[in-house]
């Protein structure tokens, strides 16, 4: 690997490939962003052109601000995403800790059972979920979404986190036990901070699909006051006419919060605080 790095040609090829990939990945986002600032006519005549004095327009954002309650949709999406992430991380980490730390009968089977959820898409159970939500009266409440997303995210979270929990020094936990810390304190104060990078990974993996999901909001929370941003944006997409200005503006705005969340978590990803705990 180091040999390859010293080779200039290889370095150039590697960076070239990465830059190319970055352009491909960012291009749609870029197109959405520039077109959200253009008039309807300009979007269709020259979709790839940057907005200039003539074509520049706030019309998309104005429509979004006037129609529907976008601030409320934002808030709903935010509550659902943050709430689901919180429960996924909390319960995922707790289950992972139990599976990796305690020896009990059926430990392995339970771990496998939880991992099974990774392979089975939760949407298969949509009808049953809807029936359950109707029965419990949770339809059209944000809790319905939070519960479903938590269930959806837990299998992978448990799987990834228990791998990392295995690596936390056994001696450190034992030192805590000898010093009289409770199992909860050991979990929250000693173990969780040491697996912070893994928590951040799990959070990032789960965040985007939850934020972007249209399926469950459409089925479980269609009423106005609990609409999420993705569902709210759909009003601009009609069967015959689509208000592209408004759709693009709404999408551009939807990027912002996830971007902020992502930056917060990726900080955690990078920060290595484990050094010095053990050799």
């Amino acid at each position: 690997m180091y040999k390859a790095r010293s080779n200039l040609l290889n370095t150039a090829a590697m960076h070239g490939a990465l830059i190319l990939y970055m352009i491909i990945a960012l291009f749609p986002v870029f197109v959405i962003l520039i077109n959200s600032f253009k008039t309807r006519r300009a979007i269709f005549s020259e979709p790839l052109a940057l907005p200039n004095a003539e074509t520049f327009s706030w019309i998309g954002y104005e429509t979004v601000a006037q129609q529907g309650d976008f601030f409320l949709y934002f808030q709903n999406s935010m509550i659902v995403t943050v709430g689901s992430l919180f429960f996924i991380l909390l319960f995922g980490a707790m289950a992972a800790y139990a599976l990796s730390e305690y020896r009990f009968r059926g430990n392995l089977l339970l771990g496998l059972y939880m991992a099974l959820g990774i392979m089975i898409p939760i949407r298969i159970g949509t009808v049953a979920i809807l029936e359950m939500m109707v029965a419990t009266g949770l339809v059209n409440s944000l809790w319905a979404l939070i519960l479903v997303y938590t269930a959806q995210g837990l299998p992978l979270a448990v799987f990834i986190l228990s791998e990392f929990m295995h690596q936390v020094s056994k001696d450190l936990k034992d030192a805590g036990r000898i010093d009289g810390l409770s199992e909860y304190t050991i979990f929250f104060r000693l173990v969780l901070p040491l697996v912070r990078p893994a928590l951040a990974t799990v959070a990032v993996f789960n965040m985007i699909p939850i934020w972007n999901d249209l399926w469950f909001p459409l089925i479980l929370t269609p009423s106005e006051e609990v609409k999420t941003l993705t569902l709210g944006s759909q009003v601009f997409i009609g069967q015959y006419v689509t208000n592209w200005n408004a759709v693009l503006a709404a999408l551009s705005m939807a990027i912002l919060p996830v971007l902020i969340l992502y930056i917060i978590f990726s900080r955690q990803l990078i920060r290595g605080i484990t050094s010095g705990a053990v050799k």
Binding site: S169, D171, A277
Partner: protein
Amino acid sequence: MTAMTLEAINKSFGKVQVLHDISLEVDEGEFVVFVGPSGCGKSTLLRVIAGLEDASSGDIHIAGEKVNLTPPSKRGIAMVFQSYALYPHLNVRGNMTLALKQEKQPKAVLDERVAKACQMLDLEDYLDRYPSELSGGQRQRVAIGRAIVRQPKLFLFDEPLSNLDAALRVNTRIEIANLHKALDTSMIYVTHDQTEAMTLADKIVVMKDGRVEQIGSPMELYNNPANKFVAGFLGSPAMNFLPGALVGDANHHTVGVRPENLFLSDTGVIEATVHLVEELGGDTNVVAMAGDQPVTVRLFGQHPFEQGQPLQLGFNAEQAFYFDGDGQRVT
């Protein structure tokens, strides 16, 4: 009074039995060392004493109280780990005081005990540093300090020196010996380094495959080993085990002679050729071959031997050890 007693301790992980019927007494103020090859169950035994593992059967008494069901923090013990196991989110002071804070000790007690431990271990300048900002030796001293401030009835050390380099290991070993003198508390110390065992211990417990082979003072074990394993485990270079026939002794299966008890003699019964010479300056270790049987000789001073040179070696019968076919000592 005894500081700790083990009665017939057994421990199994699933179907694998790791500790077999271990009984042991540790007297007040005694320094006991567990030695044995890797995987023989030393750490497991220590963890059973600490309460980090439950024994499958048997009783543990610490300071006269049965503690089989007592959680580790209430057993009056403190443990020092091989990997230091300092809390990464706390500074040195925080690491040392955490246990006392859990016990809700007043701040005056905390300060006094930390000050005393720091003075003993030379840690005054590092109190506000975090573990990641300390060297390996300093971290191990903090770990020892964390144990001292609890004022336990029994210290448990699990190979505390094996992550340190050679020079630091000698220093820390001396520090631990001094600590034991100053505190006069019972200590149990696990190691597989026989120098540490011989120099530190009042009492050595030699273990093999989860069983106690022999218990005794270092010199007792050295001078009077119960079996071939103990005889071969203590002493460096290790004892020579020669077939009885080789030394003209048909009555015994195996004859054990320590390398320092062999000498050059024209009337010696062992005829061998020099295979390897290790010149250490003060001593010379010679590995000679008597047929296919290697024989190690430790000679005082410097001896210029050539490879292939014939040697005649003798020993005094009263300095030899005799073993039967099962490796048990016969007298």
